[in-house]
């Protein structure tokens, strides 16, 4: 029971009017600002509506639920991150994929603290737990490829290694959120070094 027209191509994407596009973009923008400033709980529908100059009900015309607003804002921030990381990884050779992944991800999150807070809050407060494997699988594949390229003995530890790296990145970025003077670039270098010793025994 779609609340809105579908495009003629029938691809499932809704046709959006110009004002609707503008509103959605605006709502996503203020939601990112609010979540970054006051956390998930602080970003109430009333607060979002007030910053956008409309009412709660009007916000819920453009998005079905508050969770949908936050999800849209999350995906907006996330797509920027994965885009930059993917570009960096592709620019690097197969041997240096994991290092490029680590450095570009830490670098991006350092450059965009509001996006960082948004992504962390969304991951954290997400009710419907999305597949955790989505987080570590891309990195695990990079690690496997890099291991082959360096002629290391094939190990079945790619999953655990990726999980460790992912958790370490989260912790480094979180630390920078609390202490803006923390040197995340050096931390990323140390993490790359640790991984390097494992990949090139």
């Amino acid at each position: 029971m779609a609340r809105r027209r579908e495009s003629a191509a029938g691809d499932g994407r809704p046709e959006l009017t110009l004002t609707e596009r503008a509103r959605r973009a605006q709502l996503i923008e203020v939601t990112i600002e609010l979540v970054a400033a006051k956390g998930y709980a602080g970003a109430s529908l009333a607060a979002i509506a007030e910053r956008a100059g409309i009412t709660k009900a009007a916000v819920l015309y453009h998005f079905p639920t508050k969770a949908a607003v936050v999800r849209a804002a999350h995906e907006h921030a996330l797509s920027a991150l994965v885009g930059e990381v993917a570009t960096a990884v592709e620019a690097a050779g197969p041997e240096d994929g994991p290092a490029a992944y680590i450095r570009s991800m830490v670098g991006h999150l350092r450059k965009h603290p509001r996006h960082t807070r948004m992504i962390i809050e969304a991951m954290t407060h997400d009710e419907g737990d999305h597949d955790p494997a989505a987080r570590w699988r891309p990195l695990a594949e990079l690690i496997t490829v890099a291991g082959h390229a360096r002629g290391a003995s094939a190990d079945g530890d790619a999953r655990t290694t990726a999980i460790i790296i992912g958790g370490a990145i989260d912790a480094i970025v979180s630390e920078q959120l609390h202490d803006p003077d923390y040197d995340t670039a050096a931390a990323a270098d140390l993490l790359v070094e640790l991984l390097g010793r494992k990949l090139s025994p």
Copy 2:
């Protein structure tokens, strides 16, 4: 303006009635169960009260706010964790402190999944951000001591190394929460190995 008598020793700790002790313990117990089963949001005051067989207001007689209930449950779970880890670390030699820290912490969290969920939810949804340094400082000191004991060149990276290890532990434990078959012991071993290569170059 204390709501309750203080002990004769004047040490600031309130004297608790037998029934009060029992109620607090019961409330902490049901809160841990609820948070573990349905997350922070699912553990409403009404749900806690219902499981305990009393009313919302009765819960708020024993604790000033919902946050206080959750905090008490969190501290209960946390004290068991730090107790076990501290014992394990003291039993190990100075060289093996970090390894004992990693293995005992991962092991404890594997044995007590409900406590794990409780601790993670509390860390995650905590409004008043308590000092993040409290998380990495003890491990950083173990790392420094172990580095000296092994005669490694003194490095100023203990903080970052501890942050990385802490984040990695969180990720390993979280993964086990979603996939109960995940081999956390092997993951802890890999993490120890990674650290070992750094400490003994």
